[in-house]
Amino acid sequence: MSTQTVNSVVKLTGAKGGKYLTFAIGREEYGLEILKVREIFGVMEITAVPRMPQHVRGVINLRGQVIAVVDLRAKFGMPSTAQTEQTCIIVVEINRAGRKLNTGIIVDKVSEVLNIATDAIEEPPTFGDSVNTDFNLGMGKIGSSVKILLDIDKVLSSEDAIQIDAITKAAA
């Protein structure tokens, strides 16, 4: 791959080289910009919140702050599995309407922190209408494996749409 194409890829994907926290959901490997990650801990008791979309599992107490927890499996429409010892909550800092906000995401397993070079990132493939690739920053290639780099702001902010929908339905 020439430098020229790399540059154009970067422009398209918006993904930069750097450190990524990788985690697994089922057999898929995902990557998250390390600067977005606040902390990681094992699954604790989650208080269910009524009238929420299915992927919003509820709220937890993060040292005095009540934060929402989103199940990424449900969010991505994958079948739910039993919790294991490896199931983790990653607390990420997202931008919503200019404000920083902590939100927890539940993943099957946290793998490692990887350094992914810019020229190892390719733009996300298109699958037509069947797969929504809006959340995708790009595909990181590490050796023979591929990590899906997530735009976590987009993943979690698309909640708003669903939620507003839910609330207006409830109000109707």
């Binding site: 269910a48 709220v59 702050q65 906000l101 708003d160 939620q163 507003i164 609330i167």
Partner: protein
């Protein structure tokens, strides 16, 4: 605020820079005390430079006088620094007079050594005033011309931003004080203390604005100050129209400060305030007395003819010594390291930090209780551990009390604003009102104080407009000419009660009822108690005002009032007697951060119901339960039939039991509607700290927030009106 850098002039100074140096020396001298070497050194350098640079002064007599005076001053400072004088403090004082002398000398040369602040302030004024006065109709034309002269506040350099933000909050406090004093002055005309206090407020604002190079604010404060100065000297009595003008300046200053703050936060240059030039012209006209007031934007009045001769006087001789004094005052207010004992003992802390401190303390309390539960569970016999643990508990509780008290502010500020509202409305409506404030020092949570302002304005407005009669009506009814409106605040049983008492005509139940029936809010067949009729004034779309004025009577307002108060978890009680008056009492929680809640369990989940919404709870018998068409469940308790809502169905949780006779019903209400909530059991009452879910999850119907329980888990707080809505 003390100048740290002294501009290094070449030996050949201009007269202006000599003036500037003197000004600098004067501010250094003002802040200096015998231990403050930095200020003394600044003064020393200034005097030195003045002595070296007097060559530019044309008049040889003045020149030599200037030189010798500044040399003498320089010498004196040297002696003070070296502790060679006996009474150093007297020496510092004598320096101030030396500076004055220098200024007078320089002024003798024909150049006014105005203070920096005054210079910047004064220069746009004549032009602005001329512009506004030259034209017979000082309208947009005059205004726009002057706008070009008083430029908007230029973007401050980054170092000044914190300073400016501090200035904004200080200035706001000053103008609020001025407003209060002005209203006091109107009651007791000619009170010299009040005049002086108002003057000082404007003066301080002017001084600091000049220092920060805030031209619009400075110019306005300066113009108002000039007017007040006349009053202070007894040349002008502050009455009617003058009060109006000064109040207008206060309003405009507030809006200017608002604009400035907005600009600073966004880091962009501040906007122009189009009303400014006209108002300044008006202030000057008021000061000149002979001229009628020019019209300002919405205030219609006669056209203005400002005699040119008077305009010349307008850039009033600046109070040469006063501006630096003011700076000295603001500077000394900041505790200096070497006389920390003289600091006034307050520190400004951002609310964000305060909130996070309170949050952390809340967490500490929870952690502490968890640790102590764990230790007690282990049943340790180690007395040392138990003793230390109880000590820790005590400290934590004190810390919690302390952190809570840090959010408390007196309600006086809001009450003061009401004085203004009462004044404006009573004038508009042609009524006379004695406004009395009781218990203004009652403290309550900052957030509550902020949120209560708007509802209070509406209620006070209504009391004056609807409650209190016109003087003639009052005399006919055998009452005193002026109505009495009392605003009081007090603590009672862990809550704050704010009362608005008037001695007006009282609520007319017949008319309220008729209007409500006309508006379709209640039906004519309803049997309403007096209290229920009173509460109708809060219904949306009901106005009992016979004519719609611009003050009130559109039927909006009071329903908003109730919503706002309820959002603060408060309620409004009404007492009224026809012909005698009305008492509106607002009951509010002390703080928004903590509520008393009943923890209930439904299946595996725990929910918190605010205690204030709970009427009672019982285990229903089978006889008390009935259904309508096999679906709608009802519960008959003490002769009242209420809908039964199964909380587990509403929130989709698996309950322990489906049978109501094995569970409990909690009767909740939102002041009008009642509802029975079916829960598994009551776990107990406790105070919980409210955490908003708003950011993370958004608004959920039926849930008002989350709370962290003693074991560190999160539990949801029920929003009772929301739950009742859902149940219906």
């Amino acid at each position: 605020m003390q100048p740290t850098e002294i501009p290094q002039f070449d030996s050949l100074l201009s007269v202006e820079s000599v003036a500037q140096l003197i000004e600098q020396a004067s501010s250094a001298v003002m802040v200096a005390d015998i231990d403050d070497l930095t200020a003394l050194a600044t003064a020393h350098t200034c005097f030195q430079q003045i002595a070296a640079g007097v060559g530019v002064v044309a008049d040889s007599g003045t020149r030599s006088k200037l030189e010798s005076t500044s040399r003498a001053a320089e010498k004196l400072v040297e002696q003070i620094i070296l502790r060679e004088v006996e009474d150093a403090e007297a020496a510092v004082r004598s320096l101030s007079s030396t500076v004055l002398e220098l200024q007078n000398l320089l002024r003798g040369t024909g150049i006014e050594p105005q203070t920096n602040a005054a210079q910047e302030l004064a220069s746009p004024l004549p032009a602005a005033v001329t512009a506004a006065c030259k034209t017979d109709k000082p309208d947009i034309l005059g205004g726009s011309h002057a706008v070009a002269v008083i430029e908007a506040e230029t973007a401050l350099n980054a170092d000044d931003v914190p300073l400016a933000l501090e200035f904004i909050s200080e200035a706001n406090a000053h103008i609020e004080a001025a407003e209060a004093n002005l209203l006091k002055l109107e009651e007791h005309p000619g009170d010299p203390d009040a005049v002086n206090a108002i003057f000082r407020s404007f003066h301080t604002v002017k001084g600091v604005a000049g220092f920060l190079n805030l031209k619009q604010i400075g110019a306005l404060a300066h113009a108002a100050e000039n007017l007040l100065d006349l009053a202070r000297k007894g040349e002008l009595e502050i009455t009617g129209s003058i009060v109006d003008v000064v109040l207008e300046s206060i309003d405009l200053l507030k809006s200017l400060l608002g604009l400035l703050e907005h600009a600073l936060r966004k880091n962009e240059p501040s906007e122009q305030e189009p009303r400014l030039p006209a108002l300044i012209a008006k202030l000057h006209a008021a000061a000149n007395l002979t001229a009628p007031l020019p019209s300002v934007s919405n205030v219609a009045s006669a056209s203005v003819t400002c005699p040119e001769s008077q305009i010349a006087d307008v850039p009033s001789t600046p109070n040469v010594a006063a501006a630096p004094v003011e700076r000295a005052a603001t500077t000394t207010a900041e505790p200096r390291p070497n006389d920390a004992s003289q600091g006034d003992g307050t520190v400004k802390v951002s609310t964000e930090r305060l909130d996070s401190l309170i949050n952390m303390v809340g967490e500490l309390v929870i952690s502490q209780s968890m640790v102590s539960q764990d230790v007690t569970a282990v049943a340790t016999t180690n007395h040392r551990v138990l003793r230390n643990l109880s000590h820790l508990g005590k400290i934590t509780r004190e810390l919690q009390d302390l952190s809570m008290s840090m959010r408390m502010v007196p309600v006086q500020g809001v009450f003061q604003k009401m004085a203004r509202v009462v004044r404006d409305i009573s004038r508009k409506a042609g009524k006379e009102v004695d406004f009395v404030v009781v218990g203004g020092d009652t403290e309550l949570d900052r957030n509550v104080v902020e949120a209560i302002g708007d509802p209070l304005v509406h209620m006070v407005r209504n009391s004056v407009d609807h409650g209190i009669e016109t003087p003639n009506q009052r005399l006919e009814a055998g009452k005193s000419r002026a109505g009495r409106l009392q605003l009081s605040a007090r603590h009672q049983a862990g809550r704050i009660i704010i009362e608005i008492t008037d001695d007006g005509r009282g609520l007319n139940t017949e008319r309220i009822l008729k209007k409500a029936i006309d508006a379709g809010i209640v039906s004519a067949s309803d049997q309403l108690t007096e209290q229920q009729i009173f509460q109708l004034i809060f219904a949306a779309g009901l106005s009992t005002a016979e004519k719609i004025t611009d003050i009130s009577g559109r039927g909006v307002g009071m329903d908003v009032v109730r919503k706002n108060v309820e959002a603060l978890r408060g309620r409004i009680d009404i007492e009224s007697a026809a012909g005698k008056g009305t008492v509106l009492s607002i009951h509010l929680p002390l703080t928004l951060a903590v509520i008393d809640g009943m923890v209930v369990r439904v299946g595996a989940e725990r929910y918190i119901i605010p205690i204030t919404s709970i009427e009672r709870s019982i285990r229903p018998t089978a006889e008390q339960l009935s259904t309508v068409q096999g679906k709608g469940e009802m519960c008959l308790i003490r002769g009242r039939l209420m809908p039964l809502t199964r909380l587990h169905r509403l929130f989709n949780v698996a309950p322990r039991t489906e049978n109501p006779t094995e569970a409990l019903v909690v009767i909740v209400h939102d002041n009008q509607r009642h509802c029975c909530l079916l829960v598994d059991e009551l776990l107990g009452q406790q105070q919980v700290v409210i955490k908003s879910l708003g950011d993370t999850i958004g608004a959920i119907r039926g849930v008002s927030g989350g709370a962290i329980l003693g074991d560190g888990s999160v539990s949801l707080i029920l929003d009772v009106p929301g739950v009742i809505d859902l149940a219906e």
